[in-house]
Symmetry: C2
Subunit: 440 residues, 2 copies
């Protein structure tokens, strides 16, 4: 038995010093270092981090190259080699650890999301996880705070947490990159300015993913304007499959389902096949034509066509603004839930007959939507992280017309960021403000 | 098949009007109303709540007395009778719904906790849940915001959400009451003042639980000073078993485990049998004597006695303060995680040989601790919501002495709130400020 074996050693060794750690490292892998990966940043004193291990306390196990690892944090610098544990340990049946990188990790959406990732709610109860948290120089203290709260949460599946401000280090070997970080729109700032400012961030992060992430990394872009940010990120990461890049429209889908449920007077679990088409902006199209309630097409259940064509879309889109008014802050919790839903839709098989929405690259799409943009469309997954576009959807003139408007907008946005996608000189002509209310 | 049967009806009926709902109500239970339970409060216009159902849209199903229900919210006013669904529905195998009341529901801890409750992480994937949210007049808008975010999250297990500001309505039939709401300590306020102010809240909530909650409601007090608040609540609820009242010390336990793991250089899942004794204040005693690492007593693993006796306790207690400094806000996320842990410890069997800490009523305790206070002690549970105190713990002079100090403090706190427990005139003599850093 593992405990008894270790117990024998314990009786003859002083476990408060480095020998204990060297001993344990014979059956476990320890990454001991708390290296500074962020450059030119004044170091906060290590003594203030109560739960961290400093290298003077413990010795490096032989055979681990500390240069190959990003900044581990505190207790997460003590990581077991899960494959090397005794058979009775529950971790024996666990899958191979996955690396999940999160940008904007010190923000409010992440403050909800990270704990969901660590709990097993997203990737399942047998999937150990390493979280790689990207913050900014300004937010570094908050990033440490989040890491401390993750330590104190004692999640068994959470085996590594590393923090940093350099995407080239934080994204290393990432199998998922959840890109939440973005600059909020300042006063008087146009959507074009925002496209440029955040586009630069996403161009850099795309380059970093291209350089250091897993070759099959799945990228979920949440920071706004998310469709074009995802396009920029993708264009800067030519070695990663284009279809791996997603722009989050799942919160819109969830809100649309709720509104349809309310109008029809059914519980929301009876609403299916809801597509959000297009851009995550006010040109987005919540599709009631293909949506179903109790398996029946929505237009047969909700016969109020005026409500469907006018009020429905408005209700989905103004939800965030209403919430800010009520609640005084943006919808961080439900956004995090929708990111969980979006990931789970890719790692679990889609229920028979249903689909989900996600903003993906349009090349090869069967709907006649312009190529070379990131557009939210209906998808199905076998649960392998990949997806395919749904073929059996119908269109009418109303739906076609509205999809076209969102398509036009995304093509205009693409022209605004040509300098960031390597496609020449940017020409920006965005007549309307299409930011969703309550979003930054 | 349910869908086909309903489909037949759909083809002959206009489902956008009330007949649809009346039809559905023949096989499902609908509670249609959105009644105002809060008294003397100016009503926010219903139109601003985008996801709510107003009674003019749908008719009341026969046989449901709307007076017997608290305020339902939005889509949660459309609730299925889970026991009456067709066999192919996944909900068929679900347990009977439980009612969970949460006070301070518009606050940051709840903003994390409610989504965990709704997701199934706490009570399991087959346990449908009704959330009853208690807020204040001031926070009512935020409370609606939280309910809206819960709507948009589409959690299948979350079947009812009701909101209100009157505990006599919100606590009705509650099987769990998670009491988080408390006034923060204002500038210059003494602990004695806080005991009085929050004690009054907990006295009222105890009376409300006594009047309307389930006769076996489990009560978890989080609002500070939580031990004495729990005592006050209990004393005002004589018809509810005294052992059902808990004061949360689980975050302290989790933090203690993390610190022991770090000092020993092991991952935190190897630390067990950690007790927090006493008050949730600086007199609390994180017990290293009975704690184990890899099944070995901690003093044999960590031989640095000075660290154990001095630094360890301090590290556990200052954690919240360090976090506030880093992060700019209090540890809402990890507090919510610890509430989840505390509940799960009562609804799942305690692992063989281990235990957990919770503040409970001392009457009949085997440790010689003074009776008639709420004191954190080591417990085990069969997973039925109940617990028993652990008998095989050891004490040394150091541990005894420190436990005595916390015991003395809680007895002094009890004297401060005699007017709230029905035990005469309050006499308050609390020499020290024992609030934990970073807590309000």
């Amino acid at each position: 038995m593992a405990v008894a074996e270790l117990g024998h050693a314990y009786t003859t060794t002083d476990f408060s010093n480095s020998r204990f750690l060297t001993y344990v490292s014979s059956s476990t892998r320890l990454s001991y270092h708390r290296r500074l990966s962020y450059r030119n940043l004044p170091r906060t004193p290590t003594t203030a981090i109560r739960c961290s291990v400093t290298s003077d306390k413990i010795q490096a196990p032989v055979g681990i190259d500390s240069k190959q690892k990003p900044d581990c944090f505190g207790v997460f610098c003590l990581t077991y080699d899960l494959s090397d544990l005794k058979a009775e340990d529950q971790t024996k049946s666990w899958k191979k650890m996955i690396n999940v990188a999160v940008s904007g990790a010190a923000g409010m959406i992440s403050n909800h999301l990270l704990f969901k990732l660590a709990s097993g709610e997203v990737f399942g109860p047998d999937q150990p996880i390493a979280l790689k948290l990207l913050g900014s120089e300004r937010s570094f203290g908050a990033l440490e705070g989040v890491a401390m709260e993750l330590e104190d949460s004692l999640y068994p599946l959470l085996r590594e947490v590393s923090i940093g401000i350099d995407p080239y280090e934080v994204f290393e070997d990432a199998e998922w990159a959840l890109l939440i970080g973005a600059k909020p729109r300042g006063p008087g700032m146009e959507r074009a300015d925002l496209l440029d400012i955040n586009g630069q961030i996403y161009a850099e992060q795309g380059k970093a993913l291209n350089a250091v992430a897993s070759r099959n990394v799945k990228v979920m872009v949440v920071g706004n304007p998310c469709n074009t940010n995802a396009l920029i990120c993708m264009k800067n990461a030519p070695n990663i499959p284009a279809k791996n890049f997603h722009a989050l429209t799942r919160l819109d889908e969830n809100r649309a389902k709720c509104q349809l449920a309310l109008k029809a007077g059914v519980f929301y679990d009876k609403v299916s096949n809801v597509t959000i088409w297009g851009n995550h902006s006010t040109t987005q199209v919540p599709d009631f034509l293909n949506a179903k309630i109790h398996g029946i097409p929505v237009p047969e259940v909700i016969t109020d066509r005026k409500w469907l064509e006018e009020d429905f879309t408005k209700m989905v889109q103004t939800r965030g603004g209403v919430l800010i008014k009520k609640w005084g802050r943006s919808s961080a919790a439900s956004t995090a839930v929708s990111i969980v839903d979006a990931i789970r839709s890719l790692v679990t098989p889609t229920p028979e007959g249903d689909w989900f929405s996600t903003g993906v690259y349009t090349n090869g799409n069967p709907y006649g939507i312009a190529e070379d943009i990131v557009f939210s469309m209906p998808c199905r997954s076998k649960g392998d992280g990949d997806y395919e576009l749904v073929k059996d959807v119908i269109f009418d003139d109303y739906l076609r017309k509205r999809i076209k408007k969102s398509e036009d907008e995304l093509q205009a946005e693409k022209k605004c960021v040509a300098h960031l996608t390597g496609e020449g000189i940017a020409v920006c002509d965005l007549p309307e403000d299409t930011m969703l209310p309550g979003e930054m």
